[in-house]
């Protein structure tokens, strides 16, 4: 049933599956941190390259569960690229600790990436649910990954319980829609919904329950409670993974669901989503003001950023879709940079990451390069030129204005101004003089610095000259 084109197009994802098994066997054969990390990194790079070879065959349906089209390839590219960077950062992070077992970490990372990577292609509830579950269960292991840090197990359990609840909501929502319309395919749902009674209660309740689950995964207010605790307790590279990879994957699948199942027309849903967007933008930014922990601060800021993304989501036209695509790319580059820097500054053996705001006092003196890098990352999060965050925010506001979303756009502006305050607070702390020179300066591996430098080049180049990125988005995510 699967054509050769479908096989070719799906090759990157098959490759990732094979890679996972290879790494597992490799660990069974020989426990070697360097070898495991290296094969993971090389394998993920190969997956990234393979995406370019699937491009000529797109769009092509692969079984009733998936479709490999431009949009899927774009988001899969973001997922692979981000996972690759997380893997590299993880290596520098774990290598600096005297941790006994760190091979399985990469295995979990790969399965989590696999779960995330199938989401952008999903056009069916079955693959949607499987992807999310594979992602969440692997993440659970990563959050609580055997570590001396306090609260890791607690955060893991918290994530487990809430994630389970969210999955239940997701399943129930899917079941309701299936009961009403008798199909699990996104596109069929769109068709059936139009032929049926417009005020079909089952379908609306079903979508609302799916949105609840997705709201949890995307940590939107009011489903955001777990976010700061998990972000704080997880190892810094994993925090980056949760903040970037899982958000991109889940956002892309819900975007596809809304576009295919044509839910943008439901006024009540739109109203609810607009309220969630406004609450996330304001709530996330206001709560971030109170934080003295950089990881928690970035957790609340990521809540706000997902709220910004909902503005593009609500715009629900081609401009909105492209704005979301660019913003997710900008968000990925920026957030990976920020958490990458936190990882590089942390010494994982000590039981806690460099996440208190005092840890950053005088960073301009002690680590000028990392301080400069964090400055650019924070400016990008704040949406200042010359960074990708500026173009991204401009794009979202443009989409919001074009879609006549008055209140969400106002909330975006107010949220940005509030956000600026706490980003600047971190900047100011980095510029403050240090009273005592720290006894031992943590040596930062050159390898890690190179990754950060590469991200920065991307951040500034695409911030000053975004035309190539926008051209790519036009080709892949497209006009419709």
């Amino acid at each position: 049933m699967m054509t050769a084109a479908a096989f070719r197009a799906f090759a990157p994802f098959t490759l990732l599956g094979v890679l996972t098994i290879v790494v597992m066997l490799l660990i069974a054969a020989r426990r070697d941190h360097r070898l495991t990390a290296l094969s993971t990194i090389i394998g993920l790079s190969l997956c990234c390259v393979a995406l370019f070879f699937s491009a000529p065959d797109a769009p092509v349906p692969v079984t009733p569960l998936f479709i490999v089209d431009g949009t899927a390839l774009f988001y899969a590219g973001l997922v692979f690229g981000s996972a690759l960077i997380v893997a590299i950062i993880s290596y520098t992070y774990l290598a600096s600790s005297a941790h006994a077992v760190c091979e399985e970490y990469y295995l979990l990372l790969l399965t989590a990436t696999l779960g995330a990577a199938v989401l952008p292609e999903s056009v069916n509830f079955a693959s949607f649910f499987l992807g999310i579950e594979v992602l969440s269960i692997s993440l659970l292991g990563l959050i609580a990954y055997a570590s001396p840090r306090q609260g890791a197990a607690e955060a893991g359990i918290k994530y487990l319980v809430l994630s389970g609840a969210a999955s239940a909501f997701l399943l129930f929502g899917m079941a309701l829609i299936y009961a009403e319309l008798g199909t699990m395919s996104f596109a069929r749902i769109g068709v059936e919904a139009h032929t049926g009674d417009p005020a079909d209660l089952y379908r609306l309740v079903g979508v609302a329950m799916i949105l609840t689950a997705v709201g949890f995964k995307l940590s939107l207010v009011p489903f955001h409670m777990w976010t700061p605790d998990v972000y704080e307790a997880a190892p810094a590279p994993i925090t980056a993974f949760i903040a970037v990879v899982s958000k991109i994957a889940v956002f892309s699948v819900i975007l596809r669901y809304f576009n295919l199942a044509d839910n943008h027309g439901d006024t009540s849903l739109r109203l609810g989503l607009a309220a969630v967007a406004v609450l996330s933008m304001l709530g996330g930014n206001l709560l971030a003001l109170l934080q003295n922990n950089v990881k928690r601060l970035l957790a609340y800021s990521s809540i706000a950023h997902l709220g910004y993304l909902l503005v593009g989501f609500l715009a629900a036209d081609s401009l909105g879709n492209r704005a979301v695509a660019y913003y997710l790319a900008a968000y990925a580059v920026t957030t990976l940079g920020a958490f990458g820097i936190i990882s590089l500054l942390s010494a994982p053996g000590t039981g806690r990451d460099a996440d208190r705001i005092e840890d950053y006092r005088g960073l301009f003196r002690t680590h000028p390069f990392l301080a400069g890098a964090l400055t650019l990352a924070l400016l990008s999060l704040a949406g200042m030129p010359p960074t990708m965050g500026f173009i991204g925010k401009f794009y979202l506001v443009a989409a919001g204005v074009d879609g006549r979303l008055f209140w969400p756009v106002v909330a975006l502006v107010v949220g940005s101004v509030i956000g600026l305050y706490y980003y600047l607070r971190v900047l100011v702390t980095m510029a403050m003089p240090v009273e005592t020179i720290p006894v031992q300066r943590t040596a930062v591996p050159l390898f890690g610095k190179a990754v950060i430098a590469a991200l920065l080049v991307l951040l500034v180049t695409l911030g000053i000259y975004p035309a190539p990125a926008i051209a790519l988005i036009r080709v892949t995510v497209g006009h419709g």
Binding site: L379, M384, P385, P386, F390, F394, V397, A398, V401, D402, V409, V413, S416, V417, L420, Y421, L424, R425, L427, V428, A431, Y465, P466, A467, I470, A471, R474
Partner: protein
């Protein structure tokens, strides 16, 4: 192409100065001086000999596609107005480098990088005619300015820097929404997505929309100007900034607000601006009087100068919304004269603080005896600032009042009261700081008079302010073509009773 060089030279120079600062502090100072002089020469070469208004307004242009998918191009255009302001920008930046020579001793490379990048951003604002590009530079210039205040400022610098940033960024985002709404209205009308200012001029829209869009732009520029009630960031930012920062803020950054009003608010939304003029002029008059009153009440010398800026910028707001040839000429001269005189005063306060370690005038007094040169210049610029005939500020304020008289006698009468108040606070400053008995300032060991670099700077500034006051005609000739184009765009405002305005010679 030359316009791109105007931007690229300080931008690259900033990076060079940063790098060189690691090797030796003086290198980054010299690099900054060379770079800025080079840029100044480039700008000077653009001065057009044309004197008649028949000449086309644009002296030079540069356009390349930037983000073609969104109708955004990298479009730079220079007319007389931009040129005059760019010359002011470069001259004051050059002066900032000279006067920071002894004041800034820490992280010298980074300081000069930020200084040059601020200059780049401001030049970009004065050149950009694509609304997105304009917004890009508008935001871009904030970042290095923020660092100048936050890293090299005085006691309360973090608070002041963040306040400055939040005010300008928040109002900037309101402008962004207004820009986007304008662009989409234009797109729906013509089917053509573009951020080009010249294409967007004369976009048809209903008067309510036009009013709200105008307000969006107005707020952004009024915060920067600053106009009451958006002025509260200014005293803090000016007071806490290092001297060079205050010079850049007062001399240049405030002018971007005035430039925005001239270039965008009135030409893009002539009818709405006309309807709004009484409100804006009321704010202007309140600013003039309130700023003067607060200046009068200050003990901190730098704060006094800062509040006097609010008062002076009120005249600019008044002139812009009077919108006739006389008033607009006055606005241009007032921008230049305020830039020069206020910068001079900030430099003198900075020099004084370096010597006696206080800015508090309660501890000053009788400084003329020990610091005759500094005090003499102080008195000269205080008097320039109060608007003595023969000096630049007088020409500016007089022309603005003359222009606004044709529009509203009431506003003009009240605004003229600002001149009296200016005399009061300026003379009080001279009296308290330089005359009387010797004050009880903390450090009396370092009372040496101005050194040669400062003297040269002061002489240059003195000559400029005298030149502006005695023979401002070259400036009028330079800006006339640009202003007349702007006036034609904002035509609806200048019809009616204002048509009687006397033609300028």
């Amino acid at each position: 192409m030359i316009l791109l060089w105007l931007l690229a030279v300080p931008a690259v120079g900033g990076a060079l100065a940063w790098g060189a600062g690691a090797a030796h502090a003086n290198w980054s100072r010299w690099i900054s001086i060379v770079v800025l002089s080079l840029d100044l020469l480039l700008a000077l070469s653009l001065i057009s000999p044309a004197t008649s208004t028949g000449h086309t307004a644009w002296i030079a242009s540069f356009e390349r596609p930037w983000i073609p998918q969104l109708g955004i191009s990298f479009e730079l255009d220079l007319d007389g107005l931009s040129l005059v302001l760019i010359l002011l920008t470069l001259a004051l930046s050059l002066i900032s480098v000279v006067i920071s020579w002894t004041e800034i001793t820490e992280r010298v490379g980074l300081f000069h990088a930020n200084l040059l990048w601020t200059t780049t951003g401001v030049i970009g604002v004065f050149l950009a005619l694509d609304l997105f590009l304009f917004f890009f530079f508008w935001e871009l210039m904030l970042v290095p300015m923020y660092f100048l205040i936050a890293l090299w400022g005085h006691e309360n610098r973090f608070y002041a820097a963040i306040k400055f940033f939040l005010f300008t960024q928040g109002s900037g985002l309101i402008m962004l929404i207004a820009i986007l709404v304008l662009v989409f209205i234009h797109q729906h009308a013509t089917g053509h997505l573009t951020f080009d200012y010249l294409a967007l001029l004369g976009t048809k829209m209903n008067s309510t929309t036009a009013f709200w869009l105008m307000l969006g732009f107005f707020i952004a520029f009024a915060v920067k100007l600053p106009a009451v009630p958006f002025h509260t960031w200014l005293p803090d930012a000016h007071t806490e900034a290092p001297t060079a920062g205050s010079v850049l803020l007062a001399g240049i950054l405030l002018k971007t607000g005035a430039y925005g009003l001239l270039r965008f608010v009135v030409p893009l939304f002539p009818d709405a601006a006309h309807a709004f003029a009484p409100v804006a002029m009321t704010l202007a008059v309140i600013g003039i009087l309130y700023g003067a009153l607060l200046a009068f009440g200050q003990n901190d010398m730098k704060r006094l100068v800062a509040y006097s800026s609010i008062s002076h910028m009120g005249f600019i707001l008044l002139g812009v919304f009077a919108w006739n040839t006389l008033a607009l000429d006055g606005v241009v001269v007032q921008m230049l004269a305020h830039g020069v005189s206020t910068s001079a005063l900030f430099i003198l306060v900075g020099a004084l603080q370096e010597r006696i370690h206080t800015r508090d005038m309660r501890f000053m007094g009788g400084l003329w005896g020990s610091l005759p040169r500094l005090s003499a210049f102080g008195m000269f610029f205080a008097i320039a600032s109060l608007g003595l005939p023969g000096l630049g500020n007088f020409i500016g304020e007089f022309l603005i009042l003359l222009g606004s008289f044709h529009v509203s006698v009431t506003f003009t009468v009240f605004a003229a009261g600002g001149l009296v108040a200016a005399a009061a606070y300026s003379l009080l400053l001279v009296q308290r700081a330089f005359h009387g008995t010797v004050g009880s300032f903390p450090d009396k060991t370092r009372l040496f008079d101005l050194e040669t670099p400062h003297l040269v700077v002061m002489m240059v500034l003195t000559l400029s302010i005298v030149g502006l006051g005695v023979y401002p005609q070259p400036i009028f000739c330079q800006v006339a073509p640009g202003l007349s184009v702007l006036q034609r765009s904002g035509q609806q405002v200048s019809t009616g009773p204002r048509a009687r305005v006397v033609e300028q010679p």
